[in-house]
């Protein structure tokens, strides 16, 4: 499981390390793509947890991740449509997507307490890394004020999710 978290962390490291053309950070079109892809990765994992988790708190958390991240993606999609920005695929999005697929693939091989622990462990890593990328790259590089405002406004939700995931993580080992 740790290796999957490392894959995910590596994807977000690409964001932080500036793996973009012309030595600059990501463009707004790339940021929009990263936001949607990162949310989708957590929606997919959440859907699995919603149906497969055995612990009721983990199940409820998975359900909430689907609701919240779907809401953020709807808002992000509406904004890019309004701004007439076409989200642009990029190496970070691709890594995020493959990391998400790998995570779901791995989770599908687990069940019971092992599934619950692996899912929550990944959620903690995921939210830590996303918050880091939001602070170090996405917010500083977003040029459009509305895109920046959207990221700023959803950041506290990610922090809340991280705290919630950590609380559940602490109870699972007991």
């Amino acid at each position: 499981m740790k290796s999957l978290s490392i894959v995910f962390a590596s994807a977000l490291f690409l964001v932080a390390s500036g793996a973009f053309a012309e030595g600059a950070g990501p463009t707004d079109a790339q940021i929009a793509h990263i936001v949607v892809t990162a949310n989708q990765a957590d929606i997919d994992a959440g859907k699995l947890a919603r149906s497969k988790a055995s612990n009721k708190d983990v199940k409820a958390f998975g359900k909430q991740m689907v609701t919240d991240h779907t809401g953020v993606n709807k808002q992000a999609t509406a904004l890019v449509k309004k701004l007439k920005v076409t989200p642009e695929d990029n190496p970070t999005s691709q890594s995020l997507k493959s990391g998400g697929v790998e995570n779901v693939k791995h989770l599908k091989t687990l069940k019971g307490a092992a599934f619950d622990k692996a899912y929550i462990d990944h959620e903690v890593t995921y939210h830590e890394q996303v918050i880091d990328a939001i602070d170090k790259t996405l917010i500083p590089n977003a040029k459009n004020a509305e895109l920046k405002a959207l990221i700023v406004k959803v950041r506290p939700a990610f922090v809340g999710h991280l705290e919630h995931a950590k609380e559940i993580q602490a109870t699972l080992g007991k």
Partner: protein
């Protein structure tokens, strides 16, 4: 100015007055929709839920007054003070009202996002 032009000017003037009235009505409706007038009405208070926080976090009202929480976030939230009041899920762009009938200080939170906390003081 001939009669025609006078008539035209008169009609134009009436049209402008109607246009101004229509604009004023649309603006008033817009303000009502935005909750601006509701917020300013004595006895009614508004708390906005956005950015995963309650704004204002602490609100003081008088007994019998009404508080409306408006969810401007892209996902549901709740306004819950265990055993006192519970909005259950407030969907995006929806609101929930509570009439404060009993004096006291009520700490509340969102059951979906436990890090969201607020306080309602009823005097």
């Amino acid at each position: 100015m001939n009669a025609w032009s006078g008539q035209r000017n008169g009609r134009g003037s009436r049209q402008r007055r109607w246009q101004r009235l229509a604009v004023a009505l649309v603006c008033a409706w817009g303000l009502l929709s935005a909750g601006a007038i509701v917020a300013a009405t004595p006895g009614r208070h508004t708390v906005v839920i956005e950015g995963t926080r309650f704004e204002p976090e602490t609100l003081t009202v008088k007994r019998g007054e009404t508080v409306m929480w408006i969810n401007k976030a892209p996902f549901p939230h709740t306004v819950t003070a265990a055993g006192v009041f519970d909005s259950h899920d407030i969907r995006p762009n929806r609101s929930w009202r509570y009439k404060a009938r009993k004096r006291g200080e009520y700490a509340y939170s969102c059951t979906l996002h436990p890090n969201m906390k607020g306080t309602l003081k009823v005097e």
